[in-house]
């Protein structure tokens, strides 16, 4: 363990620090959409306790884990410093044991002999509405259900189980979070977490097809809603908008091996927020996948790069929705197999610009038995791979700080604090090995880790593993296309070079582009690539003023900027992507 990592375990105790972080409460329409029957708003105080205790009693009888983990903790404290939220906040209630004790003290007071007889002496305390609202609601939403604590507990006590039970009790009295219920209701309405409607989903797939065509010259299909297919692929829906390079990589792999695959707009999401909410919704969301696969006659269901999705599938789908008439795999297992079989043509050197390290998603490592394939795929597609310290990888991996349904704005400060251990580990390899790419095969990571890296000022790019696969994978026909493109470019450059040019920095004029470049390199200390831009800069400015059309809704705008603003606001699209959307009509 490096020095910096060792230091994170010197936690300064700050009781109550976690009280500042509270998730927004759900809205009636979201609460209503849940398959779990929950009140639309928090119950009145005089009903809360009774309802909550009834649910708690049911839960401990329904699940061995709850009963056992309520009973056997010895409060040895071995788990405390294994929790990233304790490391970040220093609040002892924000430790695995501290959090579980919130529930245990109530369990003891109401359901055990010793608790009824001896009360506070055995750490028992009767439930009150205040305990539910101020303690449970806060602290059960400061656990990312990452299960790291379970690895280090002498009995394997899994705090995520207790958190899930705590949240189900909270649900029963109407204390659910807006973020989670909103996401789940979008799945029920649109089939995916982001709430992308069918036309936009399809449009985006086409758009990505065009993108692949443009860069490789190959017609790679991204099929949606085929009638029959052998493989059903479930992407995290963010891969169609923000993490498009991952989606492109996956599509290329399927194309390269000639797979008969499709995505579905009914089940267009790998993620399953039911895991963070209740068993009923977990099951209902998985059921959409199972039904879709059956309808397609799919033999194989492949889950995209998403951590908790993998847990929902790997540990719950068969048990809750089985028997399943298909096999299922993670995309990393799939790609690893194809590489082993020699089905993919790979040029590793195309990733020589990156030095990669891997963040193991918690649910891959601890719930999904998926640590070797991730590494195998990375090592197969790039030459430079560096492991972080073994105390924070594989089964001991630290959460990114945003898992478990906590990836929401209002608790951003907590998320950043929770990201400290991972950030520290990344910093060590950045400093020691010049790592510049943090591979994070999980949609939540891809949203959370860039913010964490920015917060701790660590200069790495965060991306998926299939982003790297995409760069190194060579499709049939791609090399010819590239050679042609290169020749064309060279010709264009030669033509351009003959044209008189102006230096954008000092207005000096030159007979050719090359001369201008030489001048810029020498006099303005600018690199070759940049000087290109400088010398052309005067002409490029005009683009902004051109009228633009929004590719998603056909609205017209006087300028590109206006269109972008509209796309950002109305279609929830990031700045970079909106550029693409707005131009696409032309």
């Amino acid at each position: 363990m490096g020095e910096q990592l060792e230091k994170i375990y010197d936690v300064e105790l700050r009781p109550g620090a976690g009280e500042a972080y509270v998730c927004n409460l759900t809205k009636p329409e979201f609460a209503e959409a849940m398959k779990t029957n929950i009140p639309k708003e928090p119950l009145p105080d005089d009903q809360m306790v009774e309802v909550a205790l009834k649910r708690l009693d049911e839960l401990r009888k329904e699940r061995k884990s709850i009963q056992l983990y309520l009973d056997i903790c010895v409060r040895c404290g071995a788990c405390m410093k294994q929790c990233h939220y304790f490391i970040g906040t220093g609040d002892p209630k924000n430790t695995p044991v501290g959090r579980a004790e919130l529930l245990r003290k109530v369990y003891r007071a109401h359901f055990t002999i010793s608790g009824k007889l001896f009360g506070k002496l055995v750490g028992a305390e009767k439930l009150t509405p205040e305990i539910l609202k101020n303690e449970w609601y806060k602290y059960f939403y400061q656990c990312s259900e990452c299960r790291r604590c379970s690895v280090f507990c002498p009995y394997g006590i899994d705090q995520a189980e207790i958190t899930m039970a705590g949240r189900e009790v909270l649900n029963s009295v109407g204390l659910a979070t807006k973020y989670i219920t909103q996401v789940i209701s979008q799945v029920y309405k649109h089939g995916n977490n982001l709430g992308i409607p069918e036309p936009a989903f399809k449009y985006n797939c086409q758009f990505l097809e065009e993108e692949i065509k443009e860069s490789t010259g190959v017609d790679v299909k991204i099929p949606v809603d085929k009638e029959k297919a052998e493989i059903l692929y479930l992407p995290p829906s963010a891969d169609l908008f923000t993490n498009t390079d991952t989606m492109i990589g996956v599509a290329k792999v399927f194309h390269a091996v000639g797979a008969d695959w499709t995505m579905s707009t009914y089940a267009s999401e790998a993620a399953n927020f039911g895991l963070f909410f209740s068993y009923d919704d977990l099951k209902a969301i998985n059921l959409r996948v199972v039904e879709t696969a059956k309808k397609l006659g799919a033999k194989l269901v492949v889950f995209g790069e998403c951590g908790h999705a993998w847990r929902a599938a790997r540990q719950f789908m068969e048990a809750m929705n089985g028997p399943l008439p298909f096999k299922f795999m993670n995309i990393l297992e799939y790609t690893a197999e194809q590489i082993r079989k020699g089905k993919l043509k790979i040029d590793k050197s195309r990733n020589d610009d990156v030095v990669v390290t891997l963040h193991d998603p918690c649910n891959y490592a601890r719930a999904g038995d998926l640590v070797e394939e991730t590494r195998f795929v990375i090592k197969s597609v790039c030459n430079n791979f560096v492991e972080m310290d073994e105390s924070v990888t594989k089964v001991k991996t630290f959460c990114c700080g945003g898992g478990g349904g906590l990836l929401t704005e209002e608790i951003m400060e907590l998320r950043m604090k929770g990201g400290l251990p991972r950030a520290t580990a990344v910093k060590e390899v950045v400093e020691a090995h010049g790592v510049n790419y943090l591979a994070a095969p999980c949609a939540i990571d891809k949203a959370q880790l860039p913010l964490v890296m920015q917060h701790y000022e660590i200069p790495v790019q965060v991306g998926g593993i299939h982003d790297l696969v995409s760069k190194a994978l060579i499709l049939e026909g791609q090399e010819e296309f590239e050679a042609k493109k290169k020749a064309e470019e060279e010709a264009a450059r030669a033509a351009a070079a003959a044209v008189p040019a102006v230096c954008g920095l000092c207005d000096a004029e030159f007979a050719t582009m090359d001369e201008c470049c030489e001048h810029a390199e020498k006099d303005h200390k600018i690199s070759k690539e940049q000087c290109d831009m400088v010398c052309e800069a005067k002409e490029g400015a005009a683009a902004e003023a051109v009228p633009a059309v929004c590719g998603l809704c056909d609205a017209e705008f006087a300028t590109m900027d206006e269109c972008c603003e509209h796309a950002e606001k109305d279609h929830k699209i990031s700045k970079e992507q909106c550029d693409m959307v707005c131009e696409s009509k032309k």
Binding site: E62, A78, F152, Q315
Partner: protein
């Protein structure tokens, strides 16, 4: 005080026995009967029943999980020495129960180890106690019951040592008492020499034994039911091999 001695020797042991056995069976029956809706192993190492078993055994015998984090290794040492000593002491006590006259050979063999353990065990016990007081985070999560059980065990140990080294009750008498209890024969207290030190020790032991089913000390049984450790995947649908798909 004769009635009290009589109670501790002739009555309480049966109550203790019943409370312990019924209590432990009840607790285990509860755990046993609770369903597991889904397998929730925490990887790695549990793809089969065999690997689940070896993982649990490693946790039971060498406290493997506790060892993993360098910051927990003092606790590991303290807890492990405590448990091994406890076990050795228990084994040593079998000489009062087993064998008509002489004890079985293996019980005889473990005697000196048992004595050593009795002399040693206070050290880890004190460590376990003190860490709860000096570490602010542990103090925060400790309940009175956590101190109670440690103090109770400590008093069992100290009273036992006192009885052995400073009051010397006759081994044969203790054995006679235990064998009588086992045979459900009341002991005539006037025929044996049992001093106060022994009676105190015997009483405290019974309190401890009765306390076990109601307390966290039941962790000794619970670990064998822990889903994250005992579950493995029996599932058919997941595959890592394409041929199977």
């Amino acid at each position: 005080m004769a009635w009290l001695a009589n109670f501790v020797v002739n009555v309480l042991p049966y109550i203790t026995f019943i409370v312990f056995v019924v209590g432990v069976i009840y607790r285990i029956a509860v755990w046993w009967s609770r369903p597991s809706p889904a397998p929730i192993p925490v990887f790695p190492g549990q793809r089969t029943v065999g690997s689940a078993i070896s993982r649990v055994l490693a946790d039971v015998i060498i406290f493997r999980s506790l060892w993993q984090f360098p910051g927990n290794r003092i606790l590991w040492l303290g807890a492990w020495v405590f448990h091994v000593s406890f076990l050795l002491i228990l084994l040593r006590h079998l000489r009062y129960f087993l064998g008509e006259e002489a004890v079985p050979g293996w019980v005889a063999a473990v005697q000196s180890l048992g004595i050593a353990a009795a002399l040693v065990i206070s050290v880890p016990l004190l460590y376990l106690l003190i860490r709860r007081i000096v570490h602010a985070d542990l103090k925060f999560i400790s309940t009175p019951a956590d101190y109670f059980v440690l103090l109770l065990i400590l008093s069992v140990v100290l009273s036992g040592l006192y009885a052995k080294y400073f009051s010397t009750p006759f081994v044969v008498d203790v054995k006679y008492v235990m064998r009588s209890l086992m045979a459900l024969k009341p002991v005539d207290l006037s025929t044996v020499t049992l001093n106060t030190a022994f009676l105190v020790h015997f009483f405290l032991v019974q309190v401890l034994v009765m306390y076990i089913p109601f307390s966290k000390v039941m962790h000794l049984g619970g670990i064998f039911f822990s889903p994250t450790r005992t579950h493995h995947f029996g599932g058919e649908a997941h595959t890592k091999k394409l041929e199977e798909a």
